[in-house]
Amino acid sequence: MTALTREETQALIQEVLEVYPDKAKKDRAKHLAVNDPSVEQSKKCITSNRKSLPGVMTIRGCAYAGSKGVVWGPIKDMIHISHGPVGCGAYSRAGRRNYYVGHTGVNTFGTMNFTSDFQEKDIVFGGDKKLAKLIDEINELFPLVKGISVQSECPIGLIGDDIEAVSKKKGKELDKPIVPVRCEGFRGVSQSLGHHIANDAIRDWVIGNRDGDPTFQTTPYDVAVIGDYNIGGDAWASRILLEEMGLRVVAQWSGDGTLAEMELTPKVKLNLIHCYRSMNYISRFMEEKYGIPWMEYNFFGPTKIAESLRKIAAFFDETIQANAEKVIAKYEAEYSAIIAKYRPRLEGKRVMLYVGGLRPRHVVGAYEDLGMEVVGTGYEFAHNDDYDRTMKEMGEATLLYDDVTGYEFEEFVKRVKPDLIGSGVKEKYIFQKMGVPFRQMHSWDYSGPYHGYDGFAIFARDMDMTVNNPCWNSMQAPWLKPAEGETEVKKLAASA
């Protein structure tokens, strides 16, 4: 199918909206748009970060997911208590595949689940005592833990527990940072507020810890990688490029990160942000308080990597700038070979994305490097500033959908007929059953890394593996297939 024109896309949106009652139609209409790359301010054509409509299937998560799952969870040498009933933490345990090195259960705790397991009596009588006991238990069982964060689940805010008081008291007793985080799931409209709350907690309880402590030896080339969660090893694949350039990566936030790294971040020269949405708050804070500039970069696909490496190098002296060129040259043979191998197999394939913080716009370049085209994109929990950045990346008349509902997404796919969909695990099986190739783009479908040059090779292989998988020709049930003779003819015709 050829690309839709602006009018056709507009008509498609109208058609999809048709089934809604008037009020819902009016509300959803604001979240769907046809892209126009020349528009500077996204708020004129798309509304985002609003409450999801009751009754629709939304794909969003909660504030607790944003704080525990995204920002705090990967900090490996701290224990993050899912404070409240057991489910929130148990069902999300280790699902994000943020890799780390260490001995789990000894000095790192990433894939373990700690919960206060609230019962009825804790809701009735309050859970502060239980929390205090839990903190003591943790410290006794895991003496190497560097700190503890208390990630509130919904009931904590509802019953009015004073986790701050408990944290302060226990923190003094144990002489370790104990961070209360007020990220009850009901706060805000999506996981996005959870990111913000988590950033604020880091600001209040972690960032200033080493102010006025000059013992850390700094260099003029210190940087921090912010908002890379090391999904399948992403941060490692990014870090090596920075190090080859001659920079020193002092901290990784928060994939494979530690408490000490976070505490040292105010001493770096430049903050490099990959996921703007989840960690711009802390970067803005560090810029204001410590005068550390920050910049957004993109390590998906060779075009964007080269662009980003040069942009990063521009903050430093000529040696680093020369090194950046060297790094790009060093990997050129490698990524050219990847493109030569996969581009012919993927050229012209059309992709629809619906993901979270940065991928709906960041991966566009990587697909383009492979000759693929992103024809629709959307975010679960973006804000205006994300769409400002997205509209420039996307082509004319492509679809934009904010907080898309299950129904809308299916209808769009039926009409746009993409060759590949990149979204989350909740959407995966629906589309696979519809016969559309699908990649889970939150945790890279058990693959990765996708960042950096090394990651691009894996990315290209995975996309080829999915799009050109022979299984998609076997989607029709045998009894629905035409009679023997006919099939042969059709198959031959299709493959010709």
């Binding site: 708020k43 970060n49 708050y281 810029e287 204001e288 804000h383 500033d385």
Partner: protein
């Protein structure tokens, strides 16, 4: 009277960021912007007007300041 963080973007323009409202706009004009004073009425590119009592000497950006809505 929201708290506004003012910072410079790569192009050297001033950005007006209200974390609570999740709003980031470019500043189009500032009433007084001299080497001694900064402030007065501030107009953003989306047309909205804000006010801050002139500050002297001018603040060092990025910084957080309290603004009033222009129509108050």
């Amino acid at each position: 009277m929201p708290n506004v963080m003012i910072r410079k973007n790569d192009a050297g323009d001033l950005l007006f960021y209200v974390a609570k409202k999740d709003m980031e706009e470019t500043i189009a004009s500032v009433e007084t912007d001299t080497s001694e004073t900064w402030g007065g009425e501030v107009v953003l590119t989306d047309g909205s007007r804000w006010y801050i009592d002139p500050i002297s000497p001018p603040p060092v950006f990025p910084t957080t300041l309290r603004f009033k809505r222009g129509d108050e």
